[in-house]
């Protein structure tokens, strides 16, 4: 499965948190084919510096409007350049890339930091007969914009913060057992910092709910050609995060 190289037109690019932005891009081929958990690889400048594309998960897509939505945190030069784009500008986007989440009828979504983006994507694109709840983990009340993003989705939102200033104090894993026991989740999907995902996968395993995790790895190409993103899989297998992932069954990559 290959992506499309689209010269997308920026439709919206707004700052929503201290270092987090949301961007809508008119990229109709991706909007039509994207699945939850896939990502696109953006070329932030028509220059040799920065040279490589930046992988960003779809936070949403709209087949009718032909747009994709990206939620990105400014961490370096590439994401900084993205903040300068204004509606009407062109952004070279390559996607959809990677393997999506395999959704099920009742999902517990667990997102931390920008790992919330793909959780939002699932929540916004529930199929007939699917329902979900989401646990959002972030630092403190200054980041409640993450929760606001879920207002238009039908999922119930639970919050944990590092300092307890909003929601439950602690990590998402703190409230997972209670939620899992009170519901009949058929899968757990998670994206965020690796230690968080490992914790989530561990709890899910203990409580016998199948878990899918979305990995982050330095990428060269994003298209399976360079082996820059390789990781070990269970039983001596070798995976490419960009092509075999980023979404994997937890037990395939955490062992």
């Amino acid at each position: 499965m290959s992506g499309y190289v689209e010269q997308g037109e920026v439709v919206r690019n707004e700052q929503i948190g201290s270092d987090v932005w949301i961007m809508d891009i008119h990229a109709p081929k991706q909007a039509a084919e994207a699945k939850v958990g896939q990502f696109c690889n953006v070329r932030v400048a028509n220059s040799t510096a920065p040279l490589l594309r930046r992988p960003i998960s779809y936070a949403g897509f709209d087949v009718q409007k032909g747009t994709i939505t990206l939620l990105y945190r400014v961490v370096g030069k590439g994401t900084e350049i993205m903040t300068h784009l204004v509606p009407g500008d062109t952004l070279d986007c390559l996607g959809p890339l990677g393997e999506p989440f395999v959704t099920s009828n009742n999902m517990l979504l667990v997102g931390g930091g920008v790992g919330i983006a793909p959780m939002l994507c699932i929540a916004s694109h529930l199929q007939n007969g699917e329902e979900a709840q989401v646990i959002l983990g972030f630092r403190n009340e200054s980041e409640t914009f993450w929760a606001d993003l879920f207002k238009d989705t039908p999922v119930e939102v639970h919050i944990t913060t590092d300092d307890g200033s909003v929601g439950t104090k602690g990590f998402p894993t703190a409230i997972m057992p209670e939620l899992i026991n009170a519901n009949t989740f058929t899968s757990v999907m998670t994206c965020g910092p690796t230690p968080m995902m490992k914790g989530v996968a561990q709890v899910a395993k203990e409580l016998n709910v199948p878990c899918q995790v979305s990995l982050e790895e330095r990428m060269g190409c994003g298209t399976g050609g360079c082996l820059g993103c390789a990781c070990d899989g269970a039983g001596g297998k070798r995976y490419k995060v960009c092509k075999d992932g980023p979404v994997f069954p937890a037990e395939e990559v955490f062992f």
């Binding site: 290959s2 490589l52 594309r53 390559l94 298209t223 082996l227």
Partner: protein
């Protein structure tokens, strides 16, 4: 997704066709080893049978390898550092399990091969001299386990031995891929010629590193990595220019080619064909775009064939 299979939909430009050591390519652009998978990864982006001159497959070694742990890719100004560490399933697995699948594309394949000893190089050449392989690309940038892990490619005597040992066991064209991490690239190219090599490809990556000042650690898991991409183009071009003057075997030029202009620079410096690596990482359709741009140049200057310009910069 059959509607995305681009194969056999494009008519190649006959003025771009080149013959490199008997390998007939529909255009002078070879997908560089390690940046194009083994080819099929890109079948949805370009027509492998008609838009790609040849494919150098991911570097093979006698035994399969997992490559290096840790971060393997780092971006540098106009460049990329990589320390993949030759991850591959091994030559035999390639021949039995991967090659058959590749044969459905009408594109010459170069078997890019590395080994730890001279004997292993010969074994690799034998193992890979099979139907479906158009030529051997011998990567001598790998460590010589018999010689304190120094790269084979930095010593002309060793390069000559490797070339000879491969030459002896194969009828396929032998192209030796040179390491740029040397004082005198011409001396190494001459060693290939002396050893009976049919051609040289250059350059492989330049040894480099990057540091994370907050972690106080090298960025790459392997500490050092190989630099490629546009940053190295001036160095690669100079080496091709030097080697063209020093040997009579044909050159494949590479290092930082992103555009048709870049590719033409290499051919004018003396390359008979070019390879494209990092450009594909940035744009999976790069090879077809570069071929089109080369075609435009052929039109603009009304050339009979792109090879008319080979070595042009050396004239007058």
């Amino acid at each position: 997704m059959s509607e995305r299979d681009l194969n056999n939909t494009v008519t190649p430009n006959p003025k771009l066709a080149v013959d490199y050591c008997g390998i007939k390519m529909k255009n002078p652009i070879i997908a560089a080893s390690g940046t194009f998978g083994n080819g099929p990864e890109y079948a949805g982006y370009l027509d492998l049978s008609n838009e790609v001159g040849a494919i150098s497959v991911k570097g093979l070694t006698p035994k399969g390898r997992h490559g290096n742990p840790g971060t393997r890719i780092a971006e540098t100004p106009s460049g990329v550092l990589n320390c993949i560490g030759l991850e591959n399933p091994g030559a035999e697995h390639f021949v039995t399990d991967i090659l058959p699948e590749l044969k459905k594309y009408d594109v010459p394949l170069l078997a890019n091969m590395s080994a730890g000893t001279i004997d292993e190089f010969a074994w690799m050449a034998e193992t890979l001299s099979v139907d479906g392989i158009a030529g051997l690309e011998v990567n001598v940038s790998c460590p010589n386990v018999e010689c304190e892990g120094m790269a084979f490619g930095i010593d002309p005597k060793v390069v000559e031995q490797v070339t000879k040992s491969v030459r002896k066991v194969t009828d396929k064209p032998v192209i030796v891929k040179l390491s740029p991490n040397v004082t005198d690239i011409v001396e190494i190219a001459k060693a290939v010629e002396a050893g009976g090599g049919d051609g040289v490809s250059l350059i492989n990556t330049i040894l480099g590193m990057a540091i994370d000042i907050h972690r106080r650690k090298p960025v790459l898991g392997n500490i050092y990595g190989g630099l490629s991409g546009p940053a190295v183009k001036p160095v690669a071009l100079r080496m091709v220019h030097q080697v063209y003057k020093g040997v009579n075997i044909p050159i494949m030029g590479l290092g930082g080619i992103m555009t048709g202009t870049d590719a033409i620079e290499f051919m004018m410096a003396g390359a008979q064909a070019v390879q494209v690596g990092v450009a594909t990482m940035v744009d999976p359709t790069a090879i077809s775009r570069i071929a089109r741009e080369m075609g435009d140049y052929v039109e603009q200057y009304n050339l009979n064939n792109i090879t008319d310009i080979v070595g042009a910069v050396h004239q007058g």
